[in-house]
């Protein structure tokens, strides 16, 4: 659910994991993640109070322990859905660590463009732990680039090419970063918010 990462709107964010709060707890409030364009989420937050408690996740505790300060924020959304937020430049270390911990199936890579930042989001499933880890990484909007994780998961190859093609995030160290779905001579990256769909001229 709501992943409101705006610290100022979370008066109740406590460092503890188990509360009766709907979505996620802010572990440490990230300095750079906030300030998305979502303004009035704070209000929506209050309503779903009486949800069932967010379960604890052993895997998440392990990850936090292994990564230490690299994790800007970590939270549990619901059973089998755990999230961490890290800086873009740390992705390679983080990926290596979580892969060694058993998160072996890179399910998808998505680029998301917010008003003030971009994010490269990795969804990683662990066949052994049966949990889905989401790594949200911050990427600068002016020069979107991040290290490639193809050396860790081969499935990242096409997924990164697709994200590069449609969103324009450059994956440094990718063996063969070129467009995959669109033609080579296509101009622009269609999933950017400033790319407008035009009606056909008839």
């Amino acid at each position: 659910m709501a992943d409101e990462e705006r610290p100022e709107e979370q008066p109740e964010a406590k460092p503890e994991e188990v509360t009766v709060e709907p979505a996620e707890k802010t572990e440490e409030k990230p300095k750079e993640l906030p300030k998305a364009e979502e303004k009035k989420e704070g209000a929506e937050e209050e309503k779903p109070k009486k949800k069932k408690p967010v379960p604890k996740s052993k895997a998440l505790d392990e990850i936090k322990k292994a990564l230490g300060d690299t994790v800007l924020k970590a939270w549990v959304q619901r059973e089998r859905r755990i999230y961490i937020a890290v800086k873009g430049e740390n992705i390679l270390d983080v990926a290596k660590t979580v892969q060694e911990m058993g998160f072996d199936h890179l399910s998808s890579i998505s680029g998301v463009e917010y008003e003030d930042r971009m994010e490269s989001v990795y969804h990683i499933w662990s066949y052994e732990k049966r949990e889905l880890l989401t790594i949200r990484t911050l990427v600068s909007k002016d020069d979107p680039k991040i290290d490639s994780v193809t050396s860790i998961w081969k499935s990242a190859d096409w997924l990164e090419r697709e994200t590069y093609d449609l969103m324009g995030i450059k994956f440094e160290g990718h063996p063969d970063l070129r467009r995959i779905l669109l033609p080579d001579d296509f101009k622009g990256h269609p999933l950017r918010k400033d790319f407008e769909l035009k009606a056909k001229p008839w």
Partner: protein, 373 residues
């Protein structure tokens, strides 16, 4: 554009284009092959011919307007696409689905899975030269499509699974007809088995072709029946259950070997398991509403959700981000099973004989609408 080019060839090598229009590529997929005689040294899939920009379209439509478009992703199993999308909305908006709706969904999804696997069996037969079974498979699939048509009104695109439930209740007489079909189907499957497994040419063309090891499959993001064919028992319905799958009793089928034959066996055996699920759901079908009341205009609260399902082709997921203000998704990423399964294909096809490339390619069961989105 393909990276393989004629400038880097040795004198005994040549480039061969298979597709974009080629019967064995099941749509508009192009395989660029570097061949030395009959041997394929390199294989490079070139995709994107069917790219419609679904993710961008989603951002420019309301939540409900995009639902019919999900039918066009994997057009061989559209109900699965409906399910994954609707599930994402429901999780974001915390919509409770009535129990009956969940049962109807599961019945429909499994019928769809059987229909999809039957299509696979038919077209796979055709790809390796067993043309008769093409007719058999389509004959049985037709009866399942009739069943689906009875309730959903559609035969190819359904838009049947709706936020909060399903669009219509089960048609009169559906349950009886469905039971009968589920009873008949195994008899036909026995025929298929006889047909395939007594055919030495078929076995020779499949055994040991395109072997994928378990570790590679995991690392390359292969999912679904292709992964289970390598021996890893993972099924999203079991390990990350959605809808009412956790209340049903079914087995996760696995095969050993990870070759083309194992992938074929997987689909054939999975049909039995699907029949089992449909029968259970029919037995336990509760009375009640088939759709919950939902707001006219869907406006999910701010948040994100990753919705995973086991589509006939593998793990189909959607990553939905809502900004809480607009009536359309802020971002919708579609993780399609065919795309990721296809990305592992070149590694298994390298060095094979040309004819084996075709059999191998057919066995991973991709749908180009799902690959290109």
């Amino acid at each position: 554009m393909a990276q393989l080019s004629t400038t880097k060839l040795k004198p005994n090598e040549m480039l061969l284009n298979m597709g974009p229009q080629h019967p064995s590529t099941h749509g508009v997929c192009r395989l660029v092959l570097k061949v030395d005689g009959e041997k394929a040294l390199e294989v490079e899939p070139v995709i994107g011919y069917l790219h419609r920009g679904m993710e961008k379209l989603a951002e420019n439509r309301t939540y409900i307007q995009f639902l019919p478009l999900t039918d066009r992703l994997d057009y061989v199993a559209p109900l699965g696409n409906n399910q994954v999308y609707v599930q994402a909305i429901e999780e974001l908006m915390e919509i409770e689905v009535p129990e009956r709706a969940d049962y109807i969904r599961v019945i429909m999804l499994e019928l769809q899975r059987i229909a999809s696997h039957l299509l696979f069996i038919s077209s796979f037969g055709a790809d390796v030269g067993a043309w008769t079974v093409l007719m058999y498979g389509f004959r049985e699939r037709e009866r399942l499509l009739d069943l689906l048509e009875m309730t959903t009104g559609g035969r190819m695109v359904y838009s049947y699974i709706w936020p909060g439930g399903v669009r219509y209740d089960l048609a009169d007489g559906f349950v009886e007809k469905c039971r009968k079909e589920m009873e008949d189907l195994p008899k036909y499957l026995e025929d298929y088995k006889k047909y395939f497994y007594s055919n030495e040419i078929f076995l020779k063309r499949c055994e040991g072709v395109g072997i994928l090891k378990k570790e590679d499959a995991v690392n390359m993001g292969v999912t679904g029946a292709n992964l289970r064919a390598c021996g890893l028992a993972h099924d999203v319905r079991k390990d990350d259950p959605y809808s009412i799958y956790d209340q049903l009793d079914f087995k996760v089928i696995t095969e050993k070997g990870g070759d083309t034959l194992a992938r074929f066996n997987m689909r054939l055996r999975e049909i039995y398991e699907s029949i089992n699920i449909v029968n259970q759901a029919l037995d336990a079908l509760p009375k009640g509403d088939f759709r919950a009341k939902i707001p006219k205009i869907l406006k999910p609260p701010f948040g994100e959700v990753y919705s995973r399902t086991e589509a006939p082709r593998g793990e189909l997921s959607m990553y939905l981000v809502s900004d809480g203000e607009s009536k359309s998704p802020f971002r919708l990423k579609i993780r399609s099973p065919s795309f990721c399964n296809l990305s592992a294909f070149p590694a298994t096809a390298r060095g094979a004989i040309l004819a084996d490339v075709v059999a191998n390619f057919a066995s991973i069961d991709i749908v180009l609408g799902d690959v290109d989105r």
